[in-house]
Symmetry: C2
Subunit: 399 residues, 2 copies
């Protein structure tokens, strides 16, 4: 419980305070920043000057007031400062640049059979995409965060394994740093669902909620948590591995080699298996996932019994695992993402009923369950936000 | 992600910084505090003076140096400042006073059939115990935290329900505040396992670990987590409800009304049932739990097959649930408490084997599994520490 501080830390903390106020509150004067942060006007002036020097803020126009007296000079975050989010997925790689102002400056995606290729091929493709994004006019990058669907040792910068990619112990940070040596950008790698949870927290339906949990469903299932306004990362970044909870009383075999994993109950493959015969086009892996889910949605909307039964089964089992999450961390909001969101209006009632029955705290501990609006690409956006957040937390690493 | 601050907050933060440094580092001079905190000597002098005014710190002797020059005046935390921890258990209530220096100043315990009495009777008894503790010489209380084995709405100050006590919706904070009106002490109520986790974190075998998880086993099972140096409380304080994870493929009935809860696999009742016939003295609820566990330990030590088989079964099932916890929050250390610690040397190998097989991250995500040394009364001690922590975090609420 020891806390250590020194004057460098205090300065860093105050720089962060001012930059955060500028980012969240928009353009403003130093006088108003002083009001808001409780720092003296002299201190704010010095801090703003340092942010300008470091390229994170800039002088804008003069304040327009109806009053006489000296108008204040407006300052704002530098809209060219960008975080780069990279996503490595089963069948594509992507890179997105998001500005401190929240605007998307560039967004590139490349179809690639990542599973069928060596990790070096994927990293080559990612490096090339990032170089393209870096050439975007008006984009000054401050860091890169790579999202990978797997078990990621965040501290070591390595993917321990990602079964959907066929990866085991891949040094993503070192591999990319070598390829992007000239950019000298700080690079991190993190689990895709954890980064999608960051995206939800920064810009999703429940943005800013201090205690947020996120469940993502696609082939596998993962979770991310925010507690007390901070990402629950765990000691080495391995938190959120909820897909292999041993919840299935039928003890079905899981691709991970274990039996009874929750993923075997609520993964997309199980929904498809329940809802359609093997030769049904919804099974076709060559079709885009959004299209296949739209097929299922149409069938559900016209009342197709088999589809609705399948969704009801998934909803009950999704609620079972969701209740574990809610019992463990008591979130204010649980956001459902991935295919759980795409078909969420057919799942929510069933999920809520299970959660009400399974959560010990009254009224599900006050937890609201809502659907993500960010789609399947939330992880890349969250990666860019995570890269920006590092700068906002410690502006001294810029410039 | 908005952070608000003003000069009052900055002062409060710095008071906390100095008080924490005094508590954790022991008696020291203002000059050394300035070195350690990075604050100016003038600021430290003013902050220390305010802590003395508020009765949280005091002047000590002069520093003994071998050098010439002016010796510094030593300051230290005021050893009379105490947090009061109260425990309401099935068959006793207790109150303990712990000083800022970590010393136990008073410790009272009263046998009481809490389950067989109305909540008011227990609250009367607690109020009387607290009054006795408050009469201790050299104890200046700053707050009370009550530990209850149940589902606690921390924010509302109420026990939602505690099945072992037969309680449902009991206003513990209001009830005690009325009885202890004259003391004007701030009172909180929290789940006993969460408070035991705080005790582990402050003074247990893994004290100070930033990412700590704690599992407590008695009749029921509960968990507490510390993440990034902060208690994961959840939005209303309901986190840590791990006992009713639906993990039992045999779907046995649980007293909670559900089927297949983890508690039915690893609660103390199940161990006793597996290890001994119904007329065996280890089942006698009138005997102290430590005595009954000592009986089992002796049997295990002399190689009694039935006892060892029972412990092996419990170990495997304990590892199953522990792996859920480790997959979810990736702790650096998992502390086993309650009866899991008392018989832990017969459980650890089995738990570790299951965890190694069940945790997705390599090497169990780096998690060490250790046994608590704090015994069954950790919750009361944690309550006292939680009451102290409120003062250390915000010294302006004292004096």
């Amino acid at each position: 419980m020891r806390e250590k501080s020194d004057s460098t830390n205090v300065r860093r903390h105050n720089l962060s305070l001012v930059l955060r106020a500028l980012r969240d509150g928009g353009p403003t004067t130093r006088a108003k920043l002083a009001d808001e942060t409780g720092l003296t006007k002299a201190a704010v002036s010095s801090l703003v000057a340092e942010l300008v020097d470091r390229g994170l803020a800039r002088e804008g126009r003069l304040e327009q007031t109806g009053y006489t007296g000296r108008p204040g000079l407006i300052h704002e975050v530098d809209g060219e400062v960008c975080g780069i989010g990279v996503e490595i997925s089963v069948d594509y790689v992507s890179a997105v640049a998001v500005a401190l102002t929240g605007e998307v400056r560039a967004n590139r995606r490349l179809a690639l059979d990542v599973k069928g290729s060596a990790p070096d091929v994927a990293l080559d493709a990612v490096a090339e995409l990032v170089r393209q994004v870096l050439r975007t006019r008006g984009c000054r990058p401050v860091g890169i965060t790579v999202a990978v669907p797997g078990v990621v040792d965040h501290a070591a910068g390595r993917v321990a394994f990602a079964s959907n990619l066929g990866w085991r112990d891949v040094a993503v940070v070192d591999g990319l740093a070598r390829r992007l040596r000239r950019t000298r950008l700080p690079i991190e790698v993190d689990n895709d669902v954890k980064l999608a949870a960051v995206a939800e927290w920064v810009s999703g339906v429940a943005a800013g909620t201090a205690d947020l949990a996120y469940l993502f469903g696609e082939a596998g299932v993962g979770a991310g948590f925010i507690s007390g306004g901070r990402v629950v990362r765990g000691t080495r970044g391995f938190s959120g591995e909820i897909g292999h909870l041993p919840l299935d009383p039928r003890q079905r075999e899981c691709p991970c080699g274990r039996r009874g994993c929750w993923e075997t109950m609520v993964g997309l493959g199980t929904l498809l298996h329940l809802a359609a015969d093997p030769d049904d086009p919804v099974h076709d892996p060559a079709r885009d996932i959004d299209e296949r889910l739209t097929d299922l949605r149409r069938r559900a909307e016209r009342g197709d019994r088999r589809t609705l039964d399948a969704l009801n089964t998934i909803a009950a089992d999704l609620g079972l695992g969701a209740s574990v999450l809610i019992n463990m961390v008591n979130p204010e909001v649980l956001v459902l993402g991935g295919y759980f969101a795409a078909l969420g209006d057919f799942l929510l009632d069933g999920v809520r009923a299970q959660v009400a029955a399974r959560v010990l705290a009254p009224d599900a501990g006050g937890c609201r369950i809502v659907l993500s609006g960010l789609g399947f690409a939330a992880a890349g956006h969250g990666g860019a936000q995570a890269a920006l957040e590092r700068i906002v937390t410690d502006p001294t690493i810029a410039g």
